[in-house]
Symmetry: C2
Subunit: 284 residues, 2 copies
Amino acid sequence: MINHLVIIGVGSIGASLGLALRREGFVQKVTGVGRGVENLKIAQQRGAIDEYNTDAEAAVANADMVFLAVPMGTMRAAMLSIKDSLPANAIVTDGGSTKGSVIKDFAEVFGSTTQFVPGHPIAGTEKSGAAAAIHDLYNGKRVLLTPDAATNAEALNVVREMWQAAGANVEEMSAEHHDTVLAATSHLPHMLAFGLVDSLAKMDDVDEIFKYAAGGFRDFTRIASSDPTMWRDICVNNREALMASMDRYLDDMKEIYAAVDAGDADKLQEIFSTAKATRDKFCS
Amino acid sequence: MINHLVIIGVGSIGASLGLALRREGFVQKVTGVGRGVENLKIAQQRGAIDEYNTDAEAAVANADMVFLAVPMGTMRAAMLSIKDSLPANAIVTDGGSTKGSVIKDFAEVFGSTTQFVPGHPIAGTEKSGAAAAIHDLYNGKRVLLTPDAATNAEALNVVREMWQAAGANVEEMSAEHHDTVLAATSHLPHMLAFGLVDSLAKMDDVDEIFKYAAGGFRDFTRIASSDPTMWRDICVNNREALMASMDRYLDDMKEIYAAVDAGDADKLQEIFSTAKATRDKFCS
């Protein structure tokens, strides 16, 4: 149970949490903070927040919990905006896609990560804004919490309970491990898909190239329709793990490249069979 | 109108054409050829063929049209099996995913491509066998025909009418262009997806890596569940165009790689924005 939750950034991620927690009676009061009053009004009308405030510093003055649900690129600015008024016993958590960078920012801005519980709900909607919020967005989804050695144990418990109240399955891991895993299964695939579409876009007969693209191509490139700003920020904030992931991938691709070049049918079948068996095992 | 159509390889591709043409009354008689009698019986029961024969040489002796619907890896063997009995005025067409290699095989086996109309229906089902055939598989789908200079014009007309009777939109292009376009939009993406899953499968914590994979990853890697044998054969048969496609892609990826490495936010946003705009334009 949380008395006063302040959600900074009332997009689909922030507003969906507000909707779920208010529905479950897990919060007494939810304040939404954002720059767009129209969006804040929608959030209020939809029942995601009780009240709104465009001034983050004022909004958090009596907060028990602050949820930073802003894009990665403005995470540090959001921290700076509440630095001077955040109560010493308030818990801060976030929903950012990379965790090492957020912990580093928090430590630099606040001098300690004691009251910070870094988090990453692995859920999202393709649409943005409070209008796209849904109360069961997190139901049955994973939320990864990445506390560091300084994180207060009770704060961690409260954040875990908050996400569980929203229906999520909460797991803990180190920020480093989180960033490595997400680089491999999310950030790297996005680079490959953006890269493919970008490469095709440069071809002379791009119109015709896409004309004959079938269903498999659409599935494969769907993630290349993701928000460019969000992905720019993820790349900048998870640079190290993403570089390691790209290096490993490009190195492994040399095997397929060499096998195609040599017309090595046995090798190709071996590689493709391993990939199919792995994919079928884990994504059935 | 075709009097006697012989379909060699009564899988979902071949049997779906039989179903469609018999339904439309475009054929007098359809003979199915395959090795598995069980599958041939299913094709007959489902109305995809009138009769079946496990002997290709005997089956084509009175054929007006032969549809080679076997996997790429057995295309040449299928040609060799009908070489001695194929009537001089019979038309041969195929459904193979690469076209240059099939034309080369036909020219080598028959000494001339006059009676050969190479084709590629861009449609398919994930399931295989005659049981997976559907009468409207080709309805509204593209079929690419890639005649060469020697292809008989009347034969080309008949094959075009046959696919149109099955509801397909027929287009013509050179085999070389076909193989380049398909390498870019189909064969290359398959390599990247197989490569990604294969790369992740080699990681120590593969179970955990996949555990946190979200919907985007599933979409992106769906094509890595494709038939390894089919893709082995496509790689071998379209080696040249696929190598050119991989070279171009890997070269273009250097730009993203360098931008991530340098933390070049502007460059990353530019690349991702171009990719998103291109994908949204063509795959909306």
